[in-house]
Structure formats: structure tokens, C-alpha cells
Subunit: 519 residues, 2 copies
């Protein structure tokens, strides 16, 4: 009976289609089609739609969502009428045509997907600057509803506008036995003994989608980690063959690429998946590059063996290398070597656990953040207190660095719109801003009692007037300096104040200066 | 008459051939042939020989050396009989056959060319470790005989075993007007007005060869810089078209590749040659890779735009980035990113000139050297005193860093044969050696009064016994610590002395510790 009905549906009945007639720019247009359930609906055929507004066209792949439902999602990037037509060797999925109207973006926080700007920085597609201030909540989609809601509420009131989390949960006994037993896994099955890697499990992905949407709605980028080594030999999700990896990537893209807040992180600590070669990562990167119609940002996060970020399919650096934020001036070198934005996506975590990667003081976390931004880069926070494992499960924040990171974020967001650039980076260890206009000087753990007004020659000339403020990055206080500085040339490299001005400093660590041109 | 004789020689007379019958391994076998002088003997034909010992074969290109002399040079890398045959569309150069015997290396300092070893280090082809301690004498081949001899004598008694210098002199009025007026330039002609870029000037290259040989004989690697931006618009040697660049590269390779001490440095401050793109540098690199039968080391030295060292045709990093040696622990990051040996080939110069790149104190130069080697890399010295412009002309050394560099070299050469490796580089900023066996701990500008005996877990276990020495890197004194340390585990990451041993230090900068396992 089932077979007969399916046959009947496929060949004779007008196909059931469900789609919006209107969608706002950079939101998700979704086309739903009924199609065959026999065989393996996840595998072995092409299914995509061509969307065009006359000048641009896109070909997102569709996916099977279970229960005979096939879907194609599309993120329109221009207002106006978009027409589409579906293509598939399965007749039920082929030849569906329609159109919808893309309206102006109206939702809160809808600025489009994040793009690279000015080589080392980011902005939304509508041109609004985006300065990443990331955090890490690896397993949050796999927690109970209450905790997920709490995470969203915490993010809303935090400085964090990007979150790294795993598209495949890490192995943990609590996901098998409880207290947070998982009902759904990425593939059909319940354990290593019976996964069917040829069939995805749609409810698992619908959960991810729901929470990616919630992030989108509060303006948080979902830095989605596709593969991870945290399997302990229990599930085998880090030991799938490359064909399965590729099917997984295509399925994830088909489902998630239309969400404007998606970033693709190919892996966390990729080299800990010892069976995978860099050439296999290359292949997965190229697959993402090929299949994602919107070219969301792409990177990969390393363990010991660092992936080659200079490959053209990598959009930005997503580095784990702690000393790179412990000493100043490493980030400019990374920028100059790799020529892409540098995001220090793991810099150890504020916390008190026994593992040394989770023992930072709030002061040290704040220090590392400042080092990253003063270097013209970006950083990602994480918190690992024994009583509050934010990096694992989300929930609430317990540490003292987020308030300081928010303070830094305010400074960055009110600084040069183009983002902080290193100034004279071969010689100056601790200066960023916009040459000639705006300078942040960060003293880190040094405890100077004064700072002579000396600025590098870049974009500088005589007679420019500057105001200065003393920033206590830990106590979050900004104190104006009660005078104006006016530049004269000191030598071939430097300009000073015409009255040999110097600024008194309190002899404490974690101080900075903000120097801005006036008039 | 000349034309007739030439014709006669080409077609009828048994060709005049001159070649050795015996040459020691890694020395230069040279085949000289008489050939046509009409037309442009430098251009427009192929000329090479195939050398084989039965198991290996090489095809070095020949070159025209002027006056009807054509030469092919070959560096045999295996003892025994090598046979050769020449190939050319010019009949006079074609079909010459012969053989010679390659004997065991017997010259002083003949260990063969330098190769990469253990990914991040170097050794000679005979397996002898080579730890680069470079210096910089850009223009020395263009000085008078006495000064060149003085340079050789200075190098002999210095720690330096690699020298960077230019294959094309920089523009300087003194080379046109005097006092060191040049008689020979790379191309035929005497000034920008009359260079014939299609014709090389053999005497110019013979001079370079002579002094590369002298360097070889005293065991110094010739890090030969093929292109340079220092032209000031006067000669145009930085504005040649790419076809001329390629001819120049081939000619240089044909002449110099058989010298075992050659390293190819494609350029100094390459991006200051603003007309050349990275793709053009790629092409020149691939040409060197293709034409050099012996695969000498290849790199390029940067100005602002850093060439992508991850390209497969680059054998090692040749970086100019001063802060990379001003703060500890950058070199391990460079190694981990690029996965090749790191040579900091310009770290500013000891000196007193007005340019800030030539104002280092000897202490600072020594400090930067230590930072490079403690990071698992290598460094290159230079000296720019007003009264002694070593980096330009060679001659004699006036600075105080070379003695300290010699002291460091002794330590490195008596350390682990594999070279210094960073130990626990994500957490330890100042430690290198061989885990479990040998540690150098360098305190730089810090002035500690003691050091607690704490070593990372890498290759460590309980009950290992270590001796320690206090190294004053500036005063060049090594003071043994009068006790033995025995390891016990402190926590998951560290081992300490079973009696909580600590080492008293003098509270001075530039101190180091050497800790070596005993028994």
C-alpha cells in the first residue's frame, strides 16, 4: 500500500509545494516539496534549485528532511522578485517553478552575512563593521531547553557576538546515559553498533537550526564546527570515511547555508583527528567553497599541526596558539604572513580546572584579549570554572573577564571604523589604531609611571593636535588627560609634542592610552 | 678572416675540449668547449650535458664564457666514474663525450652542499650538522682585492658560516665614479644608456665565482641574492623584464650551481621591487627549482609584503621581521605555521648609523640571536658602524656581538646534534633543547634571582638526574651548579627536583641555564 501510494504521488498527483511569497533580504526562503520515501532519500541523486533575479543566480542544493519532505533553502541577497526552478532526476522534485519577493531587511540585527573587509577585518554585507568578540560554548545545542534558553539570555547581555560550537556533539557518557541523554544523533541509529552513515537524522539538525536561528535573532554569529576529535573511540564520528564526511558537509550546507549568521569552521583541533590528512581537509574546504552559494566565512582550528591558512579557500585565521596572545606584536606578524584576518579562536580559558588550558585569571584573559586587538586581530573567550562549565554547556557566565571584554569592545567599536591597524609594526610592539588619527597604546604587564608623547611618522606631520585619555583596562576607567598635544618632528622616524609633553601614568599593570586627533 | 676561421672550426676541426679527468666529490667538474662567436652566443639555443654514473643522471645547462669558450659545470655527488655527453643544436657543442673519476672528498671543509634536516634544521650532504650563523656583506664582491681578502680573513676568524651578498651590485655613485669604480657589470655595457640585456659580461661573473670559491674553501655558505631593489633608478637592474630576469637566473645557475656552498636567495627585500608580482617570483623560483640539478637551498628575503614561504619550492624561511626576535617564542610559531627551518636573515644591525635599522647595541644583537636559537631557529648578523660598514663592504668587524655569537655557536654546536628544538612551546616562552636530555633556558632581559628546577613533562620521567650550568651570555662565562637534580613528578605537566631544588641567579640580564641529563 505504501509503495503504491508513493508511486501514485510521484507520477500523477500535482506536487505539493510550500513556499513563502515574501522574505526579507538575507532571511531564509524555504521551498518544501513532497517526494519519494522509498529507497534512501538522502542519497544518490542531485537536487537543487536555480534562483535568479535576472542579474544574479544561485544554485543551492536541497536536502531530505524526513517523512517525505524535501526542502531547498535560499538566502536572497538583493531585494526584488526572485524566480526559481527545481532540478532533480526524481520527477517529484523536478521542474517546480515559482517566485517570491525579497523585501528590505527589517528584523533586528539583520545586516546580512559577515564578509572580509579591508583584508584584515570584517563587516556585514550591508557595510556595517563587524568586530568579532567570540566566545566558546562547544556543546550548548545538546543541553536541555532551559539551559539553551539561559545561554541565549547570557549571550544577549554579554559582549560576545560570535560563538563557536560543535555540529556533532563530543562523546560524553552523559549524552548516552544521562542526565542529558541525547535522543538524536546526526545519523540514524543509537550507538556505534548501528549508525547508518548513509542516512541523516533530521530531528538532530532541526534542533541545531532552531538554536542557530535564535543566535541569528540576537545578532550572534554561529561559528559552526563541522568535525571534532572528541570521540574517545565511542561513536566513531571522527573516524568516518571521507565519502561520509563529504556527504555530511553537503547536508549541513544544504540545511544551514541560508542562515546569514553561519561561519564554517571545518574542525576544532583538526590534527587530533589523526586519521585525516591535510589533503582531505583541502578536499572538504573545496567542497564547502563549491557548495555554499553565499560563500560564508571558512576556517579551521588547529591542534599541533597547523593547517595552511594561505590556501585560497581559507578566509581567515582561526588559531589556537597561546603564546601568540601572551606576548605583544605577534598578531601583526601573523597578518603579514597570512594576509588574512587573524582570529585567535582559543587563547586558554578563564577558570579554575586542573587542566592548564583552563586556569587563566580574568586579568590574564583580559590581557590576552588586549594583545590580540592591539595586534590588529580578534580573540575568542572561554570560561571553564568547575562550578560553571560555560565552554562546554553554556548557561551562565561566572568570570570577571567578560565585563572587561565588553569595555574593550566599546573602545574598539567607537574607534576607527576600519578596525584597529598595527602602526609601525616592525618597531612598535604595543600600538594600534589609525595612523595620523587614532592611537591605542597598551602597556600590558609593564607598569610605567609615564609615557613620553612620541608617535611614529606614519601619516604624521607637524602641527597636528591630539587629546589623550588614560585607560585602566582592568578597572574599566577612562581618565582624560587635561591638555592638548601638538606634533613636531623629532627625527626621521618620530614626532613628539612641541612642549615635550609626557603623560603621567599610575605605575600599575594593564594600562593603556587612547590618543585621538582633534578638530 | 675571423668569420672564416670560426666557420672552419665549427664544421671541420676536431672540437677542442678541456676537462679534468678526476675531481673530488662535491667539487666542480668543468668541461670547456670552443664554439661559435658569431651572433649572440648567450642566447637562443639549448646547451647542456648529461652526466651519469649508471644509477643517477644530471643535466646541468652550460653557459657562454666569452671568447668562444663554452662551459658546462657539474658537481658530482657520488664517487666513481661519471660519463657525460653534451647536447646542443650548435654542432660545435654537441656530442662531446667523456668521463672522469669522482674521488673521495679531501679538501678542508668539504662536506657537500647544505640540506634540510629534521624539517627545521640543516646538515651537509655528508650528514655533518650545519647550524647556520649568518652574516651580511651585501657588496663585498665589488670591493678592491685587498678588502675582499680582508673579508675572507675576517670570516675565517669569525663565528659566521653563511654570508648574504648581492649577485648584482647596488647602485652607488662610488661604483661609477670611484673610489671603487666598477669595470664590470652583469651585462655588456657601461651604463643605463647602453646595457645589452641579451648579453652577459663574463668577467663580472668570474669575479663572483672566484670569491664564492674562496668562501667555499673556508667553509662559508654563499647565500647569493639574485635580485635587489637598490637601484635608485640609475641602472635599471631592478626593472628588467621578466624574460631578462629568467635569462639572468639561468645564466647564474649554469655558472654557480656546481659550487657546493651556494644558497639561492631570490631577492633581498623583494617587495621593494614594486614592479614584480608574487606570481613572477613564483615563476623565478620554479625556474631555479627546474634548472638547478643539485637543488641547493632556496628562499627569498622580504620587505613589507612577505612572500608565501609555504610554497613547495621554498626550502626555508629567510625573514626580515625584527619583533620576531625581540620577543621570545615567536620562532616556534613560525616553524609551526610554515613547517620549514626559520632563518631570521635580517634582525637589524649592530651599529651607530642614523637609520634605526642600524643602531643595535651589541647586547641587543646578542639578545636577538639568543631569542632566535632558543626558538628553534637561526639568525643572521650584520654590522653598520659609521667607521666600519661591514654590511656593505665587508672588511673587518668592529662590533662586540660577534664574540658573543661565537660563544652561542659553541653552545649550539656542543648541544643536541639534531639542533635546538622548542620544548612545550605553547606554554614555555624561553626553553629549547632536546626533551628529557638537554635544556637551555634563556632569561633575556629579565633579571631573575633564582630559578626553580621545573621541567615540562615531554619525554620526562621520575628519577632522571641532571646537572646544571649558569651561562652569562654577555660575559661569556659558564658556571657549573654544584649539585645534581633528580626529577619527581609535580603535577600533570611538570617535573621538579625531588628536594625542591632551585638555582640561584645573579639578578642580571642576559643569563641562561644549561641543564643536561647525566649518566
Amino acid at each position: 500500500m505504501k509503495t503504491i501510494l508513493t508511486f501514485f504521488l510521484i507520477t500523477w498527483i500535482p506536487f505539493l509545494t510550500h513556499a513563502q511569497t515574501s522574505v526579507e533580504k538575507w532571511d531564509v526562503f524555504e521551498l518544501s516539496l513532497k517526494g519519494p520515501t522509498q529507497g534512501n532519500p538522502f542519497a544518490g541523486f542531485e537536487f537543487y534549485a536555480e534562483f535568479t533575479n535576472g542579474s544574479k543566480s544561485f544554485r543551492p542544493e536541497g536536502f531530505y528532511d524526513g517523512d517525505g519532505n524535501y526542502k531547498i533553502r535560499f538566502m536572497p541577497s538583493e531585494e526584488g522578485v526572485w524566480k526559481y526552478e527545481t532540478f532533480s532526476p526524481k520527477e517529484a522534485l523536478n521542474g517546480h517553478k515559482g517566485e517570491f519577493t525579497c523585501t528590505a531587511p527589517s528584523s533586528a540585527n539583520n545586516h546580512g552575512p559577515v564578509r572580509i573587509r579591508n583584508q584584515y577585518h570584517f563587516c556585514y554585507e550591508d557595510g556595517t563593521p563587524f568586530y568579532p568578540f567570540g566566545t566558546t560554548i562547544y556543546e550548548w545545542p545538546y543541553q536541555d531547553e532551559q539551559r539553551k534558553l539561559a545561554t541565549i539570555e547570557t549571550l544577549k547581555s554579554s559582549p560576545f557576538n560570535k560563538a563557536r560550537f560543535l555540529a556533532i556533539p563530543p562523546y560524553n557518557n552523559r549524552y548516552m546515559e544521562g542526565p542529558t541523554k541525547l535522543e538524536d544523533f546526526p545519523f540514524e541509529g543509537t550507538s556505534k553498533e548501528n549508525w547508518d552513515f548513509s542516512r541523516f537524522n533530521p530531528p538532530f539538525f532541526r534542533n541545531l537550526e532552531e538554536w542557530i536561528e535564535r543566535m541569528r535573532d540576537i545578532g550572534v554569529q554561529a561559528d559552526l564546527i563541522l568535525f571534532r576529535p572528541y570521540d574517545d573511540g565511542k561513536w566513531g564520528f571522527d573516524q568516518m570515511d571521507q565519502e561520509t564526511n563529504k556527504r555530511f558537509v553537503r547536508y549541513v550546507i544544504a540545511r544551514f547555508a541560508a542562515y546569514r549568521n553561519i561561519w564554517w569552521s571545518l574542525a576544532n583541533e583538526n590534527s587530533f583527528i589523526e586519521s585525516m590528512t591535510d589533503e582531505e581537509w583541502d578536499e572538504l574546504f573545496r567542497l564547502v567553497q563549491d557548495k555554499d552559494p553565499y560563500q560564508h566565512l571558512r576556517s579551521i582550528h588547529n591542534a599541533g599541526r597547523i593547517y595552511n591558512y594561505t590556501h585560497p579557500w581559507v578566509t581567515h585565521v582561526s588559531l589556537q596558539y597561546y603564546i601568540a596572545v601572551r606576548v605583544p606584536a605577534v598578531t601583526p606578524l601573523l597578518r603579514d604572513l597570512i594576509k588574512k584576518p587573524v582570529v585567535h579562536d582559543e587563547i586558554n580559558y578563564e577558570g579554575d580546572i586542573s587542566s592548564r588550558w583552563g586556569q587563566l585569571s580574568a586579568e590574564e584573559m583580559t590581557f590576552r584579549f588586549w594583545n590580540a586587538y592591539i595586534g590588529g586581530g580578534y580573540a575568542t573567550h572561554g570560561e571553564s570554572y568547575q562550578h560553571s562549565p560555560w565552554i562546554s554547556t553554556g548557561g551562565t557566565l561566572a568570570g570577571d573577564s567578560p565585563a572587561r571584554i565588553a569595555f574593550l569592545k566599546d573602545i574598539v567599536e567607537s574607534g576607527p571604523e576600519e578596525g584597529l591597524e598595527p602602526i609601525d609594526q616592525y618597531y612598535e610592539l604595543n600600538m594600534a589604531g589609525k595612523a595620523g588619527e587614532y592611537y591605542l597604546v597598551y602597556f600590558g604587564k609593564e607598569q610605567p609611571r609615564h609615557w613620553d608623547f612620541v608617535l611614529p611618522r606614519n601619516e604624521m606631520k607637524e602641527g597636528l593636535r591630539f587629546k589623550a585619555e588614560i585607560i585602566d583596562t582592568w578597572n574599566m576607567k577612562i581618565t582624560p588627560v587635561d591638555r592638548v598635544f601638538e606634533t613636531v618632528r623629532k627625527d626621521n622616524y618620530r614626532f613628539i609634542d612641541k612642549n615635550n609633553g609626557r603623560i603621567k601614568l599610575p605605575g600599575k599593570p594593564y594600562m593603556a592610552l587612547r590618543i585621538q586627533r582633534i578638530e
